[in-house]
């Protein structure tokens, strides 16, 4: 039995083809879980993630679904129900951005971001909770953002979706606690991903000055926090937010 005690648990990570989602999928598998790697468009990357996981000896399933699409989500959970009987752990990580100042934000830009980031998480949780109630054990971890707590100029839609995800999670935590299901949020700060790498040098330096730990984070460091919240050890933690940002926000 691994330290995290996740042996045999069935986990679904949305948006697991790259970045934090991928790191979480790999980490949960290393902790003993069977992992479903969800992706919407990045098929090759999703398969690469799955290969990494199965190469390490863990059981993995690839499930394609655009989480903003209710039917696709229903199909994904049908697939997982047939394969594993349900899931025990859900990591709502799938997210998109479509930046712009609010005054100039198109309705489509608003809708797309809310649909994937917030509605998608709602749709997944709605299905996931059913099997978790049946098993009287569950872990839902929502990946939020400092933008969701503090706002972010040029990304009001993204910030709204993440702030909303935070409150949705807390509401759900109040509803399903009695069934042994915890619902928490992890708030990553600036994590070394393609997005950060493509940032202009001056911007990187400006950000680094604001981070007490003086560096950007690693996707694995965020994955570690999520794995902890999914573990047995975190069974008395619900409605909480674990911020992994090197001290950037201290919320």
């Amino acid at each position: 039995m691994t330290a995290a005690g996740l042996d045999g648990r069935r986990a679904l990570v949305t948006g697991a083809s790259r970045g934090i989602g991928r790191a979480v999928a790999v980490a949960l598998a290393a902790a003993g879980a069977r992992v479903a790697v969800n992706y919407a468009r990045s098929e090759a990357e999703a398969e690469a993630t799955a290969t990494t996981i199965s190469a390490a000896g863990a059981e993995v399933e690839i499930v394609r679904a655009d989480v903003s699409d209710g039917q696709a989500v229903a199909g994904m959970f049908d697939q997982l129900k047939r394969r594993w009987g349900g899931i025990d752990i859900l990591v709502n990580n799938a997210a998109v951005t479509h930046d712009g100042f609010l005054m100039m934000l198109s309705e489509a830009a608003w809708d797309q971001v809310l649909a994937t980031n917030l509605r998608g998480a709602f749709l997944c949780a709605r299905h996931a909770v059913r099997s978790m109630i049946a098993g009287r054990w569950g872990r839902i971890v929502n990946v939020v953002s400092p933008a969701g707590m503090l706002g972010k100029d040029g990304a009001a839609n993204y910030a709204a979706s993440k702030g909303g995800l935070l409150s949705m999670g807390k509401s759900l935590a109040r509803e399903v606690g009695r069934y042994g299901i915890t619902v928490n949020a992890v708030c990553p700060g600036l994590v070394e991903t393609d997005l950060i790498a493509s940032m202009p040098a001056e911007m990187r330096r400006a950000y680094l000055r604001q981070i007490p730990l003086q560096r950007f984070g690693d996707a694995d460091e965020v994955a570690a926090a999520i794995t902890f919240l999914a573990s047995e050890a975190a069974r008395y933690i619900t409605g909480a937010t674990l911020t992994v940002d090197g001290g950037l926000t201290m919320i």
Binding site: V129, R130, I133, A134, E175, V176, R178, Y179
Partner: protein, 94 residues
């Protein structure tokens, strides 16, 4: 399964599934409200009942509106399940 059998089974499910200690399934009245009054269950307990009913009777209770009607009483629930099963059988036969 006939309607009486179904209702008996539902009462049993309610007591066992929601772990209602000391409640005799036979004492649950067909037309009495399941939630709030009656057995003193709050509406969150309904979630577990939804899951149990969906699994055991292979039906779907998709949302709040349907749930409210279906779970109004044992009678209402039995009726809903019977309706759903008839609809499924009709689809299967077509």
């Amino acid at each position: 399964m006939n309607h009486t059998e179904l209702k008996k089974r539902l009462k049993r499910l309610l007591v066992d599934g929601l772990k209602l200690e000391g409640v005799d399934p036979e004492s649950i009245q067909d037309a009495a409200p399941i939630f709030v009054e009656g057995l003193g269950l709050d509406s969150i307990d309904a979630l577990e009942l939804v899951v149990l009913v969906e699994e055991q009777f292979n039906v779907v209770i998709p949302d709040e509106e349907v749930g409210k009607l279906a779970f109004a009483s044992i009678d209402a629930l039995a009726q809903y399940i019977a309706q759903q099963q008839r609809a499924q059988a009709a689809q299967g036969g077509a």
